[in-house]
Amino acid sequence: MPEGNGTYDTFPKLLLLHARERGSHPAIREKALGIWQSWTWGAVAGEIEALACGLARAGLVRGVHVAVIGANRPRLYWTITAAQALGAIPVPFYEDAVAQEMVYVFQNAEIEFAVVEDQEQADKLFEIMPQCPKLKHVWYDDPRGLRHYPQPELASYESLAEAGRAFSKENPRFFTDQVARGTGGDTAIMLYTSGTTGHPKGVVLSHDNLVHASRAYAELESLRDDEEVLAYLPMAWIGQNLFSYAQWMVVGFRINCIESGETVITDMREIGPTYYFAPPRVLEALLTQVTIRMEDASWVKRRMFQHFMELARRVGSDILDHHAVGAWDRFRYAMGGLLVYAPLKNSLGMSRVRVAYTAGEAIGPDLFVFYRSLGINLKQLYGSTETSVMVCVQPDGEVKPDTVGPPMKGVEIRVLDSGEIVLRCPGLFLAYYKNDEATRAAKDAEGWFHTGDAGFFDAAGHLKIIDRAKDVGKLSGGTLFAPKYLENKLKFFPHIKEAVAFGQGRPEATAMVNIDVQAVGDWAERRGIPYSGYTDLAAKPQVVQLIRECVEKVNADLARDPNLAASQIHRFVILHKELDADDGELTRTRKVRRGFIGEKYATIVDALYSGAASCVVEAQVRFEDGRTGNIRAELPVNPAKTFARQALKAAA
């Protein structure tokens, strides 16, 4: 790993370093036509030089924004570095963003150049072009279906790189000169935060920010240049950007681009990543699959699985953390490794994982412990786009399911009286793009960043996050109400996919629930309950009873916590449709937009508090092809048992 001596302070400089030092090592792989194709660092540097020259010839200059739209594709990664080499600023987009969502960003960042993956993305750009007159050039990677497009703005990636090669032949020093002009303080990338309210904000991050954060992680985990990393999360997400781009460039390991979203599991098994990053929902989907497959397995296998998983839950984490465990248990754990854990890890593609991180949302303790008990070193970290994901991480041996660990090196954290966490760190963003007001609100005069998260330090100095600070409120009785905390507790049940809690200024807490169609559908099939789809399944009385049991378990748990006993969930409604980002109910990173949902389903909220037995809702849904339609349903309001104060006393 190169030293942080200032010479290699930008990504293009790091690229040239790798091309020199490990030019023949594979840098990036992509599964194309069923085979993993790889490019060495030398080849990657050549591609990026051609691309940068091509972009420069097309008129890209320092400080201009370039849109990068698509799934994880080597050429899109190269586009990021090529733009950075010219001092231009790449702006990655979520590939599933609908055209109208892109308009704001294109206008806000005054984007003139776009490199897109395929026809789908190009179509979106041509749809919004009348609203974004600055957009002049669109280059595509995959030519399929685009051959007959007459638009003069459109050209292929190949033609761009070809023009670049011709240009660099005439100006052989152009690329290296451009790279040399860059400094660590330059803007490296702009990422738009999905924003639970209002327009997205462009977070401006410098090379210094990202390089610092990446080095901090690399040192902490002693990352090497032979790590294998799977690139499968959206490029517009800071997590993906830090772990698969910034750290890739800083450490010089290998990233592997998956074939498609549907092949992740196969691809992961083939690559066997050594360093893995997954948001909780991905880990949860994997666990759900394992559980379903085990329920279909033969009786012997099922028993064996249950027996050894029970053992793993008891001693697995301790063995991973090198705590004292009895010799007999150690022997049995080793047997379990042979019979259950190793084959399971292999089928999850996690046999070689040395360290795995999860972040983005709170993770359920059962889920977290499941992976750790198998011997997978899964750890939580805390950070945001604005901090280059560099705030807290759990060090080896000090991993707890309900905290995010102590602050990383160089990070200062304070908890304000309001409960809000504020911090200073080297990864802290420069500004929100063209939004001084928001920048000033987030970053005060002394450089403290207001995270908007509420939390506290536990006795061991680990940070514990409970909710967004602005969402933490009070019930009308004056006791603390943290909706996200309740929602997460509900979502930790495999049968509940999403939950939205209400209670601000109300006498008691209530919730709306989305069932998990896969898990509940499987549950229903095993009991011979017929259903036609989500809406039908959600309305089955047996399902209501199932969800009621989950809610009551949460209540029993809450009753034990002195601060939160009052926010037990008194009533709940199972929604008739799944919350969807296309309907504006979730953000693109799948966080619930509570305020929006509260307004949209005001009739349900009223019914939850009016004592009505049911309510009628009509909701507009947007289908995948862009049409809209109405769903009308009558939803029962279901009461749930709450637990009295004596439970609290018994526990205290």
Partner: protein, 270 residues
Amino acid sequence: MNLRDAEPQVAARTVGEVILAVENISLAFGGVKALSEVSFEVREHEVRAIIGPNGAGKSSMLNVINGVYRPQQGRITFRGETRDHMDPRHSAERGIARTFQSLALFKGMSVLDNILAGRNLKMKSNLLLQALRVGPALREEIAHRRKVEEIIDFLEIAHVRKTPVGRLPYGLQKRVDLGRALAAEPRVLLLDEPMAGMNVEEKQDMSRFILDVNDEFGTTIVLIEHDMGVVMDLSDRVVVLDYGRKIADGTPDEVRASQAVIDAYLGVKH
């Protein structure tokens, strides 16, 4: 579901010369006349639909074109060569491939192997070399595999590449069947009810793939379909059969306006 209208920027493909012509075809099974003096032509790169009520002789017509049935009367001209009838092997070698109304796939074999099977006519090296996987046979196999992978990519079935076909949902099996036919790199593709039994979403997907095949590979397509919306959207020209006779031939709009077609579909007052 007008797919062509949704993409106005796509330039029309250049429809070429006549590639396939049937003249005065009559086919009878014993006393049952399946086809009587049917003539029509198919131009290169076009999408040609054959429609008609049940028992109109649509599938029989396809079977005549690829040589499964021998007509008692008439002539078929394919790529400049005129014959009294085709035979299946000859038509396959000359570039006609088809998909089947009831799927014809190896249920226990993977998607990959099924599509690879569609290339059997293109495999040149002998059985022994193939079994040993040496020298030219290995090189050949790699080339075939590449072609098959391109088809898998094209049809977006990479996620089920190694899954046995029997375990796939019906809509995907239909897509694999199309892939198997495409593996022969046909000049003319005969599709026998490619969308039968599909839901709306699967139909939309399949329509897109048919248009893409036509567009990307320039493959001429002759299709039988019951869903009128699909036929009118997809095809350049339509032949209408009724009781084994041709009752109309023309663009979708012309056919839709034809009194004979309206009578055949809606019935006539007697």
